[in-house]
């Protein structure tokens, strides 16, 4: 068995692969680095799959919490892992848009899921999951309900501030002026999509385009992004666990490569 672990800024994920590369299970908990939640995630994953820790041949950790996690065999960055995870499910993909809790990345893929190039957002919460958390609070709804609220909108309120803090003030002003919560929610999605499209423009998007990360669960965000880049986007069955899946794939490759080397000696 091979274990992939992704400790993000706001959630912890794990994926288990069997020797043939089939997915045995995946788990997510919305507690990120520093919370220690990853050990519980792994326990639940192994229990559901009926696997003992001793059966794990190799494990790889990725995500912002990777450096502080010492129980994995090795660590690589989430950029490489998202590439491997996407390639596992969508071998035809050439671009990835990954919007996580506190950062956004655009990755361009070459043959075999190789990373050709990548860009990341600068030190700013605008264009990340954090922006939606702030918007949900202002609109007095849960994060899960934000997408549905935006879907009800007949138009988008323009949110011009590029800074999350300023955007919060701007949204409060819009609501006070009579804008509907739905139009503000849709405006927030369009605002994030514009920022990510700008980031993508530095790299150039090539279809097929796959969206990963927790924000890809938000259907309104996927729609806003598709409208902005004027291209359809593929969304994996479990976009949050793509990084962990990639880590598990890497664990399998690493183990098999080491086994080959040993048998040659």
């Amino acid at each position: 068995m091979f274990l992939g672990i992704d400790i993000g800024s706001s959630s912890s994920k794990a994926v288990l692969l069997d020797k043939g590369g089939a997915i045995l299970g995946r788990e997510v908990v919305n507690l990120g680095t520093g919370s220690g939640a990853i050990d519980d995630v792994i326990d639940v994953l192994l229990e559901k799959a009926g696997v003992d820790r001793g059966d794990i041949l190799y494990s790889v950790v990725t995500g912002y919490g990777r450096i502080g996690y010492e129980k994995a065999d090795t660590q690589i960055t989430e950029i490489g892992c998202h590439a491997k995870g996407v390639y596992h499910d969508f071998p035809e993909a050439r671009s990835i848009i990954d919007i996580g809790g506190q950062d956004a990345k655009v990755i361009r893929l070459g043959d075999g899921g190789r990373v050709d190039n990548f860009v990341m957002n600068e030190k700013c919460a605008a264009g990340t999951g954090r922006f939606f958390e702030v918007m949900a609070r202002v609109l007095n709804c849960s994060l899960d309900d934000l997408s549905g609220l935006a879907a009800e909108a007949e138009y988008a309120v323009a949110i011009s501030s590029t800074c999350t803090v300023f955007a919060e003030s701007e949204v409060i002003s819009q609501l006070s002026a009579g804008a509907s919560p739905a139009s503000v929610a849709w405006g927030a999605h369009k605002s994030v999509a514009k920022r990510i499209a700008g980031l993508s423009g530095r790299l150039g998007l090539i279809p097929e385009i796959v969206m990963t990360g927790g924000v890809a669960l938000n259907q309104s965000m996927v729609r806003a992004m598709e409208e902005e880049i004027e291209t359809s986007i593929l969304v994996p069955e479990s976009p949050q666990t793509v990084g962990a899946l990639g880590a598990a794939v890497y664990a399998k490759e690493k183990y098999e490569s080491a086994s080959r080397d040993q048998s040659l000696q």
Binding site: Y64, I67, I76, T77, E78, I79, G80, D103, G110, R114, V115, D116, N117, F118, V119, M120, E122, K123
Partner: protein
């Protein structure tokens, strides 16, 4: 090997502790210190006047007072320098020179007289047009003005012979530094990116004669060592500067080898050798006119991209790392031009936005590690 380790430790410690190193240098030489703002100033004239020229390349002060004088979108070196000036950190300096390489520096030069009334900076006007008939005369006139001002501060004129001697010493120093960057690229596991930077930076705080002897000894010691390889990419680094150390440590952790640099704080200071003919002042002036591929000296033909491509080729490097110093307009203006050239040549670029004071480098860690992973798998 033990001599190399001892010199590496001594020089990197000196580069990591500017205040203590300057105090030690002042005590050992008996000289008064003279502050030099970035990017380039005629240090040879300051040295010839009997001062100890010291570089003022920012720091990490808590910013409390500077917003009264300059905007938040000025770069953090200028904001740090101004903050430290206002709070009295530079009161020990006998003199100070502020050149006019960017708009922030011009604003600081004007504000310094009000904000730090005890210190009267000597301005140094930077040439804008280096290709006209009058360019040489302009630089010579600026050098003469500066020489006169330094002489007045010192209380006696700076002699021709003293300038000749100082210039010869600085040329010797610059040649030794060019040799050091080559020697460092041969042994990247010993001279890590962090140590390389600190060793070069130490030159800003130690008397040039003393420093040059030490760097020459280090070059000899490094030449005696076997060639080394690191696991990560071989890169050329470009930009204003590559700091802080916690940022450079990320390259060290990921096995990067710095094969050469185009950093204003490092190789741009010494990469141009002076012409052989003329007086020291003429040779100083020609060094300004002859410097190529430099953001801070305008060029019609923008040769920086070609220069970077050649550096990659000559050193067998894999990529170029761009250290984009936040709010450094001259560097930002140059980037699209040389990026296009590097893209066309198929040379990978890692673009990193940095500041001198960064509380967290985690996002940069992901980029630097990802880039190494990307190149290792390509």
């Amino acid at each position: 090997m033990s001599q190399a380790i001892e010199l590496i430790r001594e020089l990197s410690d000196a580069g990591a502790s500017p205040k203590a190193t300057i105090a030690k240098s002042m005590k050992e030489t008996g000289k008064e210190a003279f502050g030099c703002f970035p990017i380039y100033v005629p240090e040879e004239i300051i040295y010839a006047a009997g001062y100890l020229p010291v570089g003022l390349w920012g720091g990490h002060p808590d910013i409390k007072r500077v917003d009264r004088y300059i905007q938040s979108f000025c770069c953090s070196i200028m904001r740090s320098n101004m903050e430290m000036g206002i709070r009295g950190d530079y009161d020990f300096l006998a003199g100070l020179v502020i050149p006019t390489y960017c708009d922030s520096m011009k604003a600081i030069l004007a504000n310094w007289w009000v904000a730090v009334p005890n210190a009267k900076p000597i301005p140094f006007s930077v040439i804008q047009n280096r290709a006209s008939k009058g360019s040489l005369d302009f630089v010579l006139a600026q050098l003469a003005t500066f020489r006169k001002a330094v002489g007045e501060l010192r209380g006696e004129p700076v002699s021709d012979q003293a300038i000749e001697d100082a210039f010869a010493l600085y040329e010797d120093y610059r040649a030794a530094m060019r040799a050091f960057t080559k020697a460092a690229a041969r042994v990247p596991a010993t001279i890590t990116p962090t140590l390389r930077h600190l060793i070069i930076k130490a030159a800003y705080y130690i008397d040039k004669k003393v420093y040059t002897e030490k760097i020459k000894a280090l070059n000899e010691a490094l030449a005696a060592m076997p060639e080394e390889r690191t696991e990560g990419p071989k890169v050329i680094v470009t930009g204003l500067l590559a700091e802080p150390e916690s940022f450079l440590d990320l390259f060290t952790e990921n096995g990067y080898a710095f094969m050469g640099d185009d950093l204003a704080q490092e190789s741009r200071q010494f990469r141009t050798e002076a012409r052989k003919e003329g007086t020291a002042l003429e040779r100083m002036a020609y060094r300004v006119l002859d410097q190529r591929g430099d953001t801070f000296y305008y060029e019609d033909d923008k040769s920086r991209g070609t220069m970077l491509k050649n550096m990659v080729k000559e050193t067998g490097s894999d990529a170029v790392v761009v250290c984009m110093y936040k709010f450094c307009d001259p560097e930002e203006f140059d980037y699209p031009v040389y990026k296009k050239e590097l893209d066309e040549a198929g040379i990978p670029i890692l673009y990193l936005e940095i500041e001198q004071k960064m509380d967290s480098v985690e996002s940069l860690r992901t980029r630097i590690q990802s880039f190494a992973e990307m190149l290792s798998l390509s």
